[in-house]
């Protein structure tokens, strides 16, 4: 019986360097695509769209409806890929954890095996941040973004009107983000103007990946802070060879800001200028859905969330046109910020890629390549925007008429575009999962006033450094 296992994929991964034949295979092939239930529920329409986008008739796609819970999928993929299974051929991967798979040589290197025409289209046309999370340390491309996801700030126009704001303000905010100072002031005003509305601003600060990857990341980055120094250089590594900068002032400021939002200006670590008491303590235990409920239910004025919730809140029977969307507020402007990619209306980057199983047979790969080709067509991207609401991964497509016609979300494309252009990915590396849980714990503790921002961040810095060194 074999030894510790796991090493047998080494050689096969080498095989993944062979370029893939771009000719469509002539025999009937079924390509297995590990996706999720939403894809599965809409698979007829999606297949239709793929066909129209040029997928040959002899290639069929079979969807494996994986869990929507991203961790579960990650675990499954990990087992499949590390044991060298040939199936599924195509995998839908979270941009939040594609890079570790790349680091483990578990994905097909697309730069080397796909025709340049395809890869360069991705590099050139797609949202840059998204593409960044599909690349290896060597700069090669390992996945093709299927759709990106950027959070925005949603608000209730009707309530803000009560506080004296009007359409012109809303129009400005749509593309020109406001500062947190302004934001907190406006929210407070709106709260005062609408005493029946329970909450001012709802967001997510539970101890979970969403805090470290996204909410905290946004707060921090919008104040010009960064996890590992200059994001442009250090975001995806080199692990162990980059500074840990979570104890820098901008980071502390962002924490103080959030503490003020929750606890008020008399918090001992309040941030000057911020108007306090606009967010409930409950945010400390909220993830996306629990934080969205009060907003959808009319109990909140401001709400940070992913585009999925725009579709919900903007529906006619909810707020319809009264739903306003703007980019996330900023702490400091990009110019004032210390590092590139920081400051301004940043949005954490989510979204998914499609990747190729390197262990698949050549035939499968050939067929899969045809599928990927179809997926990269404009037609497919817009179709699927309509079908599932996946945001097209190309900024240009957001300007298209067809996109604008998509109900509800079509109204907010310009805001999304701003968010997309200012998207900040989480610093995914092989050690990110470890770091992420530490970040969430410390940040949440600091928000909850269990630790001073300084203490929490210096503790965090220590731990992060240890993790960096361990890899």
């Amino acid at each position: 019986i074999s030894g510790t296992g796991g090493d047998q994929t080494e050689t096969e991964a080498g095989g993944s360097q062979t370029p893939i034949n771009t000719e469509a295979p002539s025999e009937d092939v079924t390509v297995q695509w590990a996706a999720d239930t939403r894809v599965n529920n809409n698979r007829e329409a999606i297949f239709q769209s793929l066909r129209e986008a040029g997928l040959p008739d002899n290639i069929t796609v079979e969807v494996i409806a994986g869990s929507q819970v991203t961790n579960n999928r990650q675990n499954q993929y990990q087992q499949w890929l590390s044991s060298g299974r040939e199936q599924p051929t195509l995998l839908m991967m979270d941009s939040g954890w594609t890079i570790p798979f790349i680091a483990r040589n578990q994905l097909q290197n697309l730069s080397q095996t796909l025709p340049d025409s395809m890869t360069s289209r991705v590099e050139e046309n797609y949202f840059e941040a998204s593409v960044g999370t599909a690349k290896g340390a060597n700069g090669d491309l390992y996945g093709i973004p299927l759709f990106p996801d950027f959070p925005t700030m949603q608000y209730r126009k009707d309530l803000l009107r009560n506080a004296g704001y009007g359409d012109s303000d809303f129009e400005t905010w749509a593309t020109e983000s406001m500062s947190w100072v302004e934001f907190s002031k406006i929210t407070k005003e709106a709260m005062n103007a609408n005493p029946d509305t329970q909450y001012g601003y709802t967001f997510q600060a539970s101890v979970y990946e969403g805090l470290s990857c996204c909410d905290f990341n946004e707060f921090m980055t919008s104040y010009g802070g960064a996890f590992f120094g200059n994001p442009a250089e250090n975001l995806f590594g080199p692990v162990g060879d980059r500074p840990v900068t979570v104890d820098e002032q901008p980071v502390l400021d962002s924490i103080k800001m959030v503490r003020t939002l929750i606890n008020g200006e008399d918090d001992e670590h309040a941030l000057d200028g911020i108007t306090g008491n606009i967010a409930p303590e409950a945010v400390l235990q909220w993830t996306e859905e629990p934080s969205r409920k009060p907003f959808t239910g009319g109990d909140a004025i401001m709400h940070r969330n992913w585009p999925y919730s725009i579709n919900i809140n903007g529906a006619e029977d909810v707020f319809g046109e009264d739903l306003g969307v703007m980019p996330i507020p900023y702490g400091v402007t990009a110019e004032e910020a210390q590092y590139p990619m920081t400051g301004g209306p940043v949005a954490a980057l989510g979204g998914w890629h499609v990747t190729l199983n390197p262990n698949a047979s050549q035939l499968q790969k050939r067929a899969a390549l045809q599928v990927m080709k179809a997926m990269m067509t404009e037609q497919f991207k817009l179709d699927i925007f309509e079908i599932i609401g996946w945001i097209p991964p190309e900024p240009d497509l957001l300007d298209s008429d067809r996109a604008a016609e998509v109900p509800v979300i079509g109204r907010y494309l310009s805001q999304l575009k701003v968010a997309g252009e200012n998207a900040i990915p989480r610093p995914v590396t092989v050690v990110w999962p470890q770091q992420s849980s530490k970040i969430a714990t410390e940040v949440n503790a600091a928000y909850a006033r269990e630790k001073s921002p300084e203490q929490a961040m210096s503790d965090l810095k220590n731990t992060l450094e240890q993790i960096e060194q361990s890899a």
Partner: protein, 320 residues
């Protein structure tokens, strides 16, 4: 004998009397006859347990009946009444298929476990032999490990990644991914220690005289096990069975990683429930409905196991 009087608190009288008498009369009889007080205490305790165990289910029902977008600021009553959820849940996910898979996995595991654990329980409970204690401790020790400790080697074994050397030939293990095998076998092995211990205790308590009688009548030792000892331990066997079955129903580690999550790949009910969940949005009402539907068959199983099997096999209390 006199078993019908073992009603404990119902020792005398029927409860018919309670209902017809007014409260005051009852109170005065309680003072005269403390047994009534016991009975009252019994009812209070029963009620308490009923409320505490059932309340979360009620809450589940409230969640199921409330349309998902109204699930917030919940009180004790459903907001709105949306029984269609019990249809929607099947439209969204082929939940019945997942339930079927769980049933097959559960039954297969239970059969294997009861069979092997019965033999082992008989050995440990009724025979004295060298190595007994060490073996029992060894088997027990298996249950100390988290499932993750078994996972990687088993995953390789069941996905064809392990080379098995059979003398001169080396074959790789068969690829059983997406079949019941890589779930049933680990379940059996991991849940077996509990059943072995349960059955050991129960089988050990059956008087020797009964096994002796069976053997003189012409059974083998194994025959005596199946014809006398197991039927007489029916409460224990049924319990071991129910516990094993439900454990399978509940298992989520191997259930999740030993298949690709499709109903057609033998993924069990846990995968089905998780399929309702979106990346961010969670249709609590559908999940609540699905769990109510998912739990019902187990309720039926419990009824059958507890009433039919137990009372059918042991008509009387044990007597030598």
């Amino acid at each position: 004998m006199a078993t019908q009087d073992q009603g404990g608190v119902f020792e005398e009288g029927g409860d018919a009397e309670i209902r017809k008498g007014p409260l005051e009369r009852w109170v005065s009889t309680v003072i005269k006859n403390p047994k009534r007080a016991y009975r009252a205490m019994f009812y209070v305790a029963t009620l308490f347990f009923l409320v505490t165990t059932l309340f979360p289910f009620y809450w589940l029902l409230v969640l199921a009946l409330t349309p998902n977008r109204l699930i917030r600021d919940m009180g004790l009553l459903p907001k709105g009444f949306n029984p269609e959820v019990f249809i929607t849940m099947f439209e969204r996910v082929p939940f019945h298929l997942f339930m079927f898979n769980s049933f097959v996995l559960g039954i297969a595991t239970t059969v294997i476990v009861l069979l092997l654990a019965s033999l082992a329980g008989y050995v440990f409970g009724r025979l004295r032999f060298p190595g007994r204690t060490a073996l029992m401790l060894g088997i027990l020790a298996i249950s100390y490990f988290p499932p993750a400790a078994f996972f990687l080697p088993l995953f390789e074994l069941f996905t064809g990644g392990t080379d098995i050397v059979l003398g001169p030939i080396t074959v790789s293990s068969p690829d059983l991914f997406n079949t019941p095998a890589p779930m049933v076998f680990p379940f059996s092995a991991l849940f077996m220690p509990l059943s072995i211990f349960i059955l050991t205790t129960f089988y050990g308590q059956i008087p020797d005289g009964l096994e002796d009688a069976a053997r003189v009548e012409g059974t083998t030792r194994l025959g005596a096990l199946f014809r006398v000892i197991i039927p007489l331990s029916a409460p224990g066997v049924a319990t071991a069975g129910v516990l094993t079955f439900i454990s399978v129903y509940n298992e989520f580690f191997f259930s999740f990683l030993m298949n690709n999550g499709e109903a057609s790949s033998w993924a069990p009910i846990v995968a089905g429930i998780l399929k309702y969940q979106g990346q961010f949005d969670t249709p609590y009402n559908l999940m609540a409905a699905a769990s109510i539907v998912g739990v019902l068959p187990v309720a039926i199983l419990v009824i059958i196991a507890q009433e039919r099997i137990v009372s059918g096999l042991t008509a009387g209390a044990l007597k030598e």
